[in-house]
Symmetry: C2
Subunit: 409 residues, 2 copies
């Protein structure tokens, strides 16, 4: 492990883990008999499952580059430190939705968290046509609990400034989002990919769409300059594991203080991407399509209700000091705040859909559609809705209006 470019060999990894008593207890038994398996589904990191008689942990190792791109795309391995701190902070507010961390090592860039038995990646479930009726309510609660809990409504300014200062140094990971979400797809860029030639004209139009590029630039400015809450930072359906009755959120390496609408919008975007992709399948996916649109509504409405409840019952932060509003009904202010957050979320939702159709990181929902004409038709519907969400978010007053627009797209 002295060569930072080399992924850990299994024996070295086991030796490292055995040296940590809490982790050794967690796995149990003789370390020589632990099993280790590289599961290889990380785009950015190496991921191992290490199993002992008492349990299993998932160990992530960050090489100093992007795994799928190789050493030519350098990336700081310190990203595991930001992921670890985000896990710790989010677990203070939403422990049931974030796997427990066992240890982090700043030298070997290893992070170990509980392995989630019986969980699969949400995006894979969507691609396979599955429905998870419990997903939306839990995702809504995760979003509300983490975003409210790390905001000025919940934290003192002293505590929030300390957190924001730490995450402000997650510069390299934020830069990826700044480039990929808000910039590259609006330019000829070697990383861009799309269904070609079917969408070539759409891509040309997008690059010439000044109204859209201005609206996206305003969203980028918000991403760069607002520090409303500690974001997951990359909350797509590949960052959420599901089981028969629960969800768990992983891959927090893009965590930063930023606008709440970025996390909310990203998740809504991937539910809508799942919906448009499902639309390319036949009638056998009708129930999944209906569920995905209801999930869009439930995520937002559930978030809204939970966030307002937390504000009513757990507002201990320096914003809106309680001493100033004794006996005052703050409910209209909360609804005003949430209306503005909804519009912001829709903007980020649209930007995320656009970059997933045209950019570097195209999701399996679309790429598994093998017929280009069918895929392009689904992607074009997604683009149409996305443009509207970015350029006229104020047109949508409720999530039901968004899902209706998705049906009409």
């Amino acid at each position: 492990m002295t060569d930072p470019a080399a992924p850990t060999d299994p024996a070295a990894l086991l030796g490292h883990l055995a040296g940590h008593p809490a982790l050794a207890d967690r796995l149990g038994g003789d370390p020589a008999r632990w099993s280790v398996r590289e599961i290889g589904d990380g785009n950015v990191n190496f991921v191992y499952v290490v199993r002992g008689p008492n349990g299993a942990v998932c160990v992530k190792q960050a090489p100093p580059y992007v795994r799928v791109a190789g050493p030519s795309w350098a990336l700081t391995p310190r990203r595991v430190l930001f992921e670890h701190r985000a896990v710790v902070e989010h677990r203070l507010h939403a422990p049931e939705f974030v796997p427990k961390p066992w240890y982090v090592d700043a030298e070997s860039h290893l992070l170990a968290v509980d392995f989630l038995e019986g969980h699969t990646v949400m995006r894979g479930e969507l691609v396979d046509g599955a429905l998870h009726p419990h997903f939306a309510a839990q995702a809504a609660r995760y979003l509300a609990d983490t975003l409210f809990g790390t905001s000025d409504l919940a934290l003192t300014a002293t505590r929030k400034r300390e957190l924001a200062a730490f995450f402000e140094t997650n510069t390299a990971m934020c830069r990826i989002m700044e480039d990929m979400v808000f910039t590259e797809i609006y330019l000829p860029h070697p990383r861009n990919r799309w269904t070609s030639p079917e969408l070539d004209d759409d891509v040309r139009r997008l690059r010439d769409d000044t109204e859209l590029k201005l609206a996206v630039s305003r969203l980028k400015s918000r991403y760069l300059s607002s520090r409303d809450a500690l974001l997951h930072g990359d909350l797509h359906t590949g960052s959420i594991m599901v089981s028969a009755d629960g969800i768990a959120v992983i891959d927090q390496e893009f965590a930063c203080y930023g606008p709440m609408g970025f996390d909310i919008g990203t998740l809504l975007a991937h539910l809508l991407i799942g919906y448009f992709a499902a639309g390319a399948h036949g009638p056998e996916r009708a129930a999944q399509r209906a569920w995905l649109l209801s999930a869009v509504e439930e995520v937002w409405e559930g978030f809204r209700a939970r966030f307002a409840e937390l504000w009513r019952t757990r507002a201990a932060g320096d914003a809106y000091p309680a001493a100033l509003f004794d006996g005052v009904d703050l409910e209209p202010e909360r609804q005003r705040y949430l209306d503005a957050l909804f519009a912001e979320s829709l903007g980020f939702c649209g930007a995320e859909i656009l970059r997933r159709v045209i950019g570097f990181a195209r999701p399996d929902d679309f790429t598994t559609l093998k017929d280009p004409a069918t895929r392009a038709a689904a992607e074009r519907r997604a683009l149409a809705l996305a443009r509207s969400l970015v350029t006229e978010p104020g047109r949508y007053r409720t999530a039901a209006e968004v899902t209706e627009a998705a049906r009409q797209a």
Copy 2:
């Protein structure tokens, strides 16, 4: 200087300065013959002028408390480090308006900058009835150059995040603003002072004014959560020195990344405070009053023009990437941005006026008015305008509409 609570004695101070070659060169000659004088006009720090044959420096020493309050009000002496870094960063963009720093010492909490020969404090000039016709154009340029130069329009995200992370740790100084500007005056608080009993009813009404407190809380949330530019953080007329033809901005210890409107609004507030105070004098202050209102208009209009010019000619930041807008006229977007910034600035302007009439730090403009009835009348006019600026900033489309409202108040 080992006892952090003790102000430096002159001999120790001179010994310290003599040990720094650049500074010794600056002052020149034999250190034993330098003169040192405590000028005693700092609220927060001890301030010395040290003079040698070649020149003079101003040395600020931060005790671990607020000077005017004494050791019972503890305050981190690290504030000089934030002041020093803000001076360095602002001088990259506006060197003609910020005195050159010679050295900073993190152990003795000393900061030395060029002494400004022939300069006096702007607030004292206003109290004395003076006019400084060059002031507004230079203040506008200082504001535009420092705020634009430290924003996402000028800096890469990598550079801005590094700066923001550093200044995010200026927690203790920011806390003073959070408390004094946005919170304490709306509560019974032992630090509050006002012209009593004349304004007692006004103060009572203000504490019960839910619409006002909500609007102030929204401004506080922006102060807590936006990182638009590196602010001076306390840009009142006591932080600006003037001479016959120049201005110089000092006392950057409240520097933080925050909303641009906070600096702009604070300066406009103190010009308006000067105007209302001048109104309590007779016709001999008519010219000063007219000048102060024209200065309000000139500061904003000059800022607006200069900021737009910088955006046209020096936009090298990650916001609105130039590559996306080749051949596109961004002027409507600039004007839209500046319209929003004007409204934000008026909100902060109103909040600053309110806390200067009712809070701990009442300005000499008002306190030198010895007749309570006269003073209360001037302060009441200021309160009326301030409430309108905070609760309905959108009502004012131009600075001329604000000055007209000041005349009518």
